[in-house]
Symmetry: C2
Amino acid sequence: MKIKPEYCKVHDALSILVGKWKPIILLYLMSEGTMRYGELKKALVGITPKMLTNQLRELEEEGLINRKLYPEVPPKVEYSITEYGMTLKPILDSMHEWSMQHKKRKLEITMD
Amino acid sequence: MKIKPEYCKVHDALSILVGKWKPIILLYLMSEGTMRYGELKKALVGITPKMLTNQLRELEEEGLINRKLYPEVPPKVEYSITEYGMTLKPILDSMHEWSMQHKKRKLEITMD
DNA sequence: AGATATAGTATCCAAAAAGATACTATTGGA
DNA sequence: TCCAATAGTATCTTTTTGGATACTATATCT
């Protein structure tokens, strides 16, 4: 059997999660429900505005999050997870679970 | 609550799976048990030897796969999944499952 | 009139990941 | 002696991703 990465289902799911800040943003919105741009910026220590906007836009394009712009000045923008975005929760959970179970592994190994 | 990507558990798990060919290699070894370098090379359409070696080394360093060198000429090297590598199966499964359920989504959306 | 708050843009630069292509070591066999 | 087979290396280039830093628009408030 031969295969290309693009034909791999796992690769498909993985690729929409890849991005330095994407998983955290999704997790935040999943638990907080809705957050403003500025709140996210404060929460995500070290993120630049460019990166934040970029990651949000990509998540939005995938249909995973919602962007709601209030026509006020100064501007107000709220981000929230979509129903579709919520379907990723089992995946994120399984990764969280795995990391919790194996977080000590590297330490154990290097202690040999 | 503030957070950096490196402190995110999901990010931890994700990062060891990221690499263009890593998921496929893991899936192959999980199902085939053991494969030689040349077999992998044939299976992974379009991969360069450099990339194959690189991905294998990184997986090996993480302890996810095993490299067994037979001291023969021409050389023979067999790769196999480790027990630890197998613990990733639930994650890969959940991603596969998700992709199967949502593979039509983009098409549906763009058809509006 | 000038400062303030918010959600971004615009540029330029550095680092990391991936791709193309050619090359190597070894030795048993023709 | 030269070739084939296997599992890689070595180099160089391109693409992608991320980082630093400065700037903007605009109604409201003072």
